[in-house]
Subunit: 115 residues, 4 copies
Amino acid sequence: MKDIKQITAEIRKFRDERDWAQFHNHKDLALSLVLEASEVLEHFQWKSPQEVERHAQENKDELADELADVAMYLFELADNIGVDLGPAIVNKMKKNALKYPVEKAKGKHTKYNKL
Amino acid sequence: MKDIKQITAEIRKFRDERDWAQFHNHKDLALSLVLEASEVLEHFQWKSPQEVERHAQENKDELADELADVAMYLFELADNIGVDLGPAIVNKMKKNALKYPVEKAKGKHTKYNKL
Amino acid sequence: MKDIKQITAEIRKFRDERDWAQFHNHKDLALSLVLEASEVLEHFQWKSPQEVERHAQENKDELADELADVAMYLFELADNIGVDLGPAIVNKMKKNALKYPVEKAKGKHTKYNKL
Amino acid sequence: MKDIKQITAEIRKFRDERDWAQFHNHKDLALSLVLEASEVLEHFQWKSPQEVERHAQENKDELADELADVAMYLFELADNIGVDLGPAIVNKMKKNALKYPVEKAKGKHTKYNKL
């Protein structure tokens, strides 16, 4: 089982073998992150809740590839900026727990500043 | 060091304590993934390469939070669809290695179908 | 009643009075177009069809501003690239009419290449 | 020369001939607006300022189609929400003139809340 750090090292190796660091500035990586996330979203365009669910089951391999594309840009961008993504997630979840206390947020999708 | 699976389990727990699964259908999660990726990108809007680099260094903590937000929706969406994200990334990198062989792709940002 | 060309001329004037053309390259304008479109989308995040409809009615002025932001970047980007947007839309609708003939597309949200 | 209102009427007619209003809720239209804006942005991914400029000149027809796609969803969404887009743009430009007074904003890309 590979963790985020190991996968990130492989992404970096892949990039450097192709001499792509020259293109992978933060701005183009962030832009690419949005483009890949949009490709995930496109799968669900115009679809009803039932169609969304069925589409995901029937296209799991394709969605796995799209989600992997998002992950690769995310892991590389974090690495390039000097962010250790695993601890950053754990840290952000702690902040979210304070912004969305269970008793106030339960069963609601209201944003924290309107809770 | 927590891996993707462990972090995903914590995300699921956070969600279920708040009874939020009812809102977290694939479509809204994919939509949220795009919105959070856009917040990362907004950091670099209008900025020159030098400004981008400096901004990232001076706002590392804020960017860590934004990248964590992307990661949380990504991990949860993969989990909900039944995609094991770690192996999915490794698998996609193998496909990319075939689409972008080093000798053809080196030093170029051309898309594989135009290489 | 101002048309697209007149509004575009005002956008250009606004930009040039502030000496902003130096920042408004195609890439940053396209990026800004995505960011503003995302702000429109954020209004509907997590909301059910009924909540979406009600939110739009109750926040029409705010949505008008967000849609205007998208329009301003769209009109300026088209202008900068040398695209006459009005005729471009009419032209694209003719193409779409061929891709989506009424008898095949009626009542379906299927993409043209799968119709 | 067709104005926004006339083009919007044609978009509505195109949609209704195909019985597509059932799919064109605000959320899916906003989502589609983001997807089409992303397709515009994809044209400029990884490209240097010089490459961006050249690409736009060499692909003007394709970009015209992509910009038209954004415009069509934008005009329809505004129409569905009950926003008169032309006046909304003029109104937003007046607000922007107050947020970005020439003497303070000239030659700077700083956001208004940091000016």
